[in-house]
């Protein structure tokens, strides 16, 4: 219960756009999405981008995969499969390609994800995720395959993500891998800082830079 409340608070503070909730470790079950090149149009289709705040996108995450054209639930899609749950999404290579819409990160967070695992992330999506406290964990292709197979065969498996140590592991096993993250971004995630605070602290230097421009 306490976890649940913490989770909800986290979502709200991240989506309110102020400084982010801190991220240190997470132990959770995972949902597999063994599809490559998942683009931002799939994560959140354009027709849902008409609202002017950050709330409500979670309801429409992967809308056209979760529901068919008549609005009925697609039982074959992993997010709809009752055997899977958790706040970790394990996805195929090149996740988040396509548009710059940050709505994709808001939609994943709104649905309840805190970590996305893939063997490759598109640039802009990765930045958007980090700016909202959603952790992209990039693993090797081999580790991704193991993870997908394990979760599909044993959905109750817990996955442990430790940002401090930069490791991702399958609980109660010796299957583990370390992952890379920009040191600055890691500090931001752990302390809940946003780039905007840093940039605001550099105002004087920015003004000095402007004054130096002669062309």
């Amino acid at each position: 219960m306490l976890d649940k409340i913490k989770n909800i608070n986290k979502k709200i503070s991240a989506l309110a756009g102020s400084s982010m909730e801190k991220f240190t470790t997470l132990t959770s079950r995972a949902i597999p999405l063994a599809i490559e090149n998942v683009d931002t149009d799939q994560i959140i289709p354009a027709r849902f981008l008409k609202t002017t705040d950050k709330q409500g996108f979670g309801d429409n995450v992967f809308r056209d995969w979760r529901f068919d054209k008549h609005g009925s639930i697609n039982k074959n899609f992993s997010l709809n499969n009752p055997k899977y749950s958790g706040s970790i999404l394990v996805a195929g290579d090149n996740f988040g390609c396509g548009s710059s819409r940050e709505h994709a990160a808001w939609a994943l967070i709104g649905y309840g994800f805190e970590v996305i695992v893939s063997s490759f992330f598109a640039d802009i999506f990765k930045g958007n995720a980090l700016n909202n406290g959603l952790l992209p964990v990039q693993v090797s292709e081999g580790f991704l395959k193991t993870l997908l197979e394990t979760v599909e065969a044993h959905p109750e498996t817990n996955i442990e993500v430790n940002l401090e140590n930069q490791t991702i592991s399958i609980a109660n096993s010796d299957v583990s891998e370390s992952f890379d993250i920009d040191t600055y971004k890691k500090t931001c995630m752990i302390n809940g800082y946003g780039d905007i605070d840093y940039l605001l602290s550099k105002k004087e230097q920015i003004e000095a830079f402007e004054a130096e421009q002669t062309l």
Binding site: K50, N94, S99, G127, N132, T183, G194, I196, K203, F209
Partner: protein
């Protein structure tokens, strides 16, 4: 060691560096539109942070605007509200907005260059991934997320790690009927959709040197489709000629000073790139895509490859195509010529030149959507409108339109659309729609034939007005 074009522009904009971390990069121009800015304005307002440099921001309405009856109130309530909020935010913060109906309104990546807002050597950002378009001027231009839109509002800067450098060189002479769109679709088909991730790409070689600014914009536009944050082409006389005389371009002595500086920007002969690819212009032919990412492209005369990969199969299943088959003679009911990739005057000239004296096939709905009010005006001025209308094509009003189908311009479920836009993702042009990306020439030929035809067959007799 020499510097690349990218290095020179980047280094001139570094305000400071975080130890062992990213750099603070100064942004000269920030373009905004209705879809990715409202949450950034909200964030600033909630935190009581003012917009730092409103004069360096330009706004337009494009993603969510109707392409018919733009003078009437917008029917869709959410769309209307989104546009109203943009107007309100711009008014409140002193930002110039070219709203719907304004003579400078248009797709952000079409209107900014044509107004001379885009200039060589600048850094430019926009909450839209195809901001890479502006790289055609030798500009560092890239798409950003809404959190970053807020950062630029607050500080006119971004915290960034310098990307790696990639150069794609294409030398030789393009065959007749091979357009800039084919060049970039060919490159992406060879390199794949994530080969450019983490890199900024420079396009070099005589193919790009001989290309018009419109063509260069088409190429740089699609850099993001191979994962690159942006693409650039060295500024040269073609660039300077294009910029000169435009509304916001520098003039007189200022221009001379700038041109002198711009001439120093091209990559030094001894500069080294992290990755290089070289292609031969003679190998390129008119291209079409057959799958659900822009890397899934073939020459129009080729057949769909055979692959066992699950994602590949899923993609073909969505498109209802079979591995090994040809797309020639596939019946097509929708054709879209538009989007920030191909909605400039040159694109409509190519289409009109082909269509002239012909008729669109009865089964086809053909939409022509200019990229801006200025392009629309030029279409009328050059007499292209009559050609289109006589041939049964529908000339609409400017906007993103069926490129992302946020407004009413949607391709119906299951239908194929030969489109000059940049993304063939599942449902991109409407739920269940199937997109085939192509050049304006292939699109025009498809509309006339009512099916995909091998334009290379009658290319010898074609007079193409491009590059």
């Amino acid at each position: 060691m020499g510097k690349t074009l990218f290095d020179k522009v980047w280094d001139a904009h570094v305000v400071n560096s975080v130890q062992n971390g990213p750099q603070v990069l100064y942004i000269d121009k920030h373009l905004i539109h209705e879809v990715t800015s409202p949450q950034a304005f909200n964030e600033l307002e909630a935190r009581g942070i003012p917009v730092f440099r409103p004069n360096q921001i330009v706004a337009t309405a494009d993603h969510n605007t109707p392409t018919l009856n733009q003078d009437l109130p917008i029917k869709d309530e959410l769309s209307r509200k989104q546009l109203e909020q943009l107007s309100e935010n711009c008014a409140k913060n002193g930002i110039t907005l070219y709203e719907l109906g304004h003579k400078y309104n248009g797709i952000v990546h079409v209107m900014a260059p044509e107004l001379g807002i885009t200039q060589p050597g600048m850094t430019m950002v926009c909450g839209d991934s195809h901001t890479s378009t502006h790289g055609a001027f030798g500009t560092i231009a890239f798409g950003i997320g809404t959190s970053q839109v807020a950062q630029v509002f607050a500080s006119q800067c971004l915290l960034l790690t310098k990307p790696k450098s990639l150069r794609v060189t294409v030398n030789g002479k393009l065959k007749n009927g091979v357009l800039p769109k084919d060049v970039i679709l060919y490159i992406i088909s060879k390199l794949g959709t994530n080969s450019g991730t983490g890199y900024f790409c420079e396009y070099a070689g005589d193919v790009f040197e001989n290309m018009s600014m419109e063509g260069r914009m088409t190429v740089c536009n699609m850099s993001i489709e191979m994962g690159a944050r942006g693409g650039m082409i060295a500024p040269d006389d073609t660039t300077f000629e294009y910029v000169k005389g435009r509304k916001f371009a520098p003039q007189g002595k200022d221009l001379d000073k700038k041109v002198t500086y711009w001439k120093t920007l091209p990559t030094d002969a001894d500069a080294v790139f992290d990755k290089e690819y070289v292609f031969d212009a003679e190998d390129i032919e008119p291209m079409v895509t057959y799958g659900t990412n822009p890397g899934m492209g073939i020459k129009i005369s080729e057949t769909i490859p055979v692959d066992d990969n699950a994602s590949f199969k899923k993609s073909l299943e969505y498109m209802n195509f079979a591995a090994g088959e040809s797309l020639i003679n596939k019946p097509i009911n929708f054709v879209f010529i538009g989007s920030c990739t191909n909605s400039r005057i040159e694109d409509f000239r190519v289409a009109a030149n082909f269509i002239k004296g012909k008729q669109k096939a009865d089964n086809v709905t053909a939409w022509l959507v200019p990229g801006s009010k200025q392009v629309e005006a030029q279409i009328i001025e050059e007499g292209l409108k009559g050609i289109f209308e006589n041939a049964g094509f529908e000339l609409r009003q400017p906007g993103c339109s069926a490129c992302l189908a946020m407004n009413d311009d949607k391709i119906p479920q299951g239908e194929y659309c030969v489109s000059t836009s940049n993304r063939n993702f599942e449902g991109r042009q409407g739920q269940g729609s199937r997109t085939i990306l192509a050049s304006p020439l292939v699109a025009a030929a498809t509309a006339v034939a009512g099916k995909i035809v091998d334009v290379t067959k009658d290319i010898e007799t074609l007079e193409i007005v491009s590059h």
